[in-house]
């Protein structure tokens, strides 16, 4: 799922990424997690890390839009 999202993040326009199924799957999952009762929105990001002992800092791959909570 994440691989699919990463592949699509390279091949399509960033604005269209929120229309892809992997993005919607992750957004659905994140917004369904328990949140503080006063929260009215949430957001997720996908980062790439470089192994258990790497000193290299994780790199940002995808940042979602602000996702409203019902």
């Amino acid at each position: 799922m994440i691989h699919d999202l990463l592949r699509q993040s390279i091949s399509i326009d960033h604005n269209q990424l929120c229309l892809t199924v992997p993005y919607i799957v992750i957004a659905n999952y994140i917004t369904s997690l328990p949140h503080n009762s006063v929260a009215d929105a949430t957001q997720f990001m996908i980062m790439e890390s470089f192994g258990i002992r790497s000193t290299k800092k994780p790199e940002l791959i995808v940042v979602s839009a602000i996702l409203g909570l019902k």
């Binding site: 199924v21 992997p22 919607i24 799957v25 659905n28 369904s32 192994g51 258990i52 002992r53």
Partner: protein, 280 residues
């Protein structure tokens, strides 16, 4: 070291695949909340991947079967059918029904989980598909042999494809791939990563211990039991370590389930070339 009878080979295949299928079913049921509408594998979202699962009468039927708790029951029935296969008589209509049930649910699971499956699930579908087709003609020796031959061929294809893909990759030949994979949080362990970090030669040795046996697997099947035995022992250790270190436990059972068919076919081929061996 000896040959396996055809019935013993089938029984062993069904036992090993049944154990794996049972464990897989328990794992799937344990995370059943992820299959609900607010879970990671929500059918409401995943059904939008294909037009056939999105619109029409089929989509509505699939939404009931795959998008509700009915799917839990179907998974449970698959586990029960896989377990029953170990006990039902070979060549009986009960065996055909159980094989069809396991195969049918496995194929449904592929439709249900476009993101959650791996090569082990594909191998199960192939094993149970071949066993099912073989069970349709229990008195036809050619069909029965073809079903085991197909499973053995698939094992050879899987190993050799993986082996040659690694063989042409420089990072596999110099051991860097092993260090990289076992250094990830998903597939690695801190203790193993530290050990490999301090020993570059060990990475190269492990890398080649994966690449070489995978690449020569079909040749070992053709060479016969004396050579194949060593490779199957390697396979058991390889998949066991993958399960322990990398968490790939489903591959252990699905690939080991092909070994009886691999052994049987190799013995048959060897017996043709060495008649004195098959009469022992």
């Amino acid at each position: 070291m000896g040959t396996l009878a055809f019935e013993q080979t089938l029984a062993l295949t069904k036992i090993i695949a049944g154990i794996g299928m049972g464990l897989g079913t328990l794992e799937a049921l344990y995370i059943r909340n992820e299959y609900r509408s607010r879970g990671l594998f929500s059918w409401e979202v995943l059904s939008t991947l294909e037009i056939v699962t999105l619109k029409g009468i089929w989509a509505r039927a699939l939404a009931i079967v795959l998008g509700t708790k009915v799917f839990d029951v179907i998974l449970l029935l698959r586990g029960v059918a896989a377990a029953l296969l170990i006990t039902v008589p070979q060549g009986s209509s009960a065996e055909v029904f159980c094989l069809l049930s396991v195969l049918g649910v496995s194929l449904l699971t592929h439709l249900r989980n476009p993101y959650g499956l791996d090569g082990a699930d594909q191998m199960y579908a192939i094993i149970y598909g071949a066993l099912f087709l073989g069970s349709l003609a229990p008195d036809n020796q050619i069909v029965r042999l073809a079903s085991l031959g197909f499973i053995a061929s698939q094992a050879c294809l899987s190993y050799s494809t993986a082996g040659f893909a690694k063989l042409i990759s420089p990072v596999w030949r110099n051991g860097e791939a092993i260090r990289g994979i076992l250094g990830t949080r998903t597939y690695g362990l801190v203790s193993v990563a530290k050990l490999l970090d301090a020993n570059a030669c060990l990475c190269i040795v492990i890398g080649w211990m994966v690449v070489l046996p995978e690449s020569i697997f079909p040749a070992a099947v053709l060479a016969g039991p004396p050579v194949l035995l060593g490779l199957l022992v390697w396979g058991v250790f390889f998949h066991f370590l993958n399960a322990v270190v990398m968490g790939l436990n489903t591959f252990l059972w699905s690939f080991l389930a092909t070994y009886p068919a691999v052994w049987y076919c190799s013995c048959q081929l060897y017996g043709i070339r060495h008649p004195e061996w098959s009469s022992q």
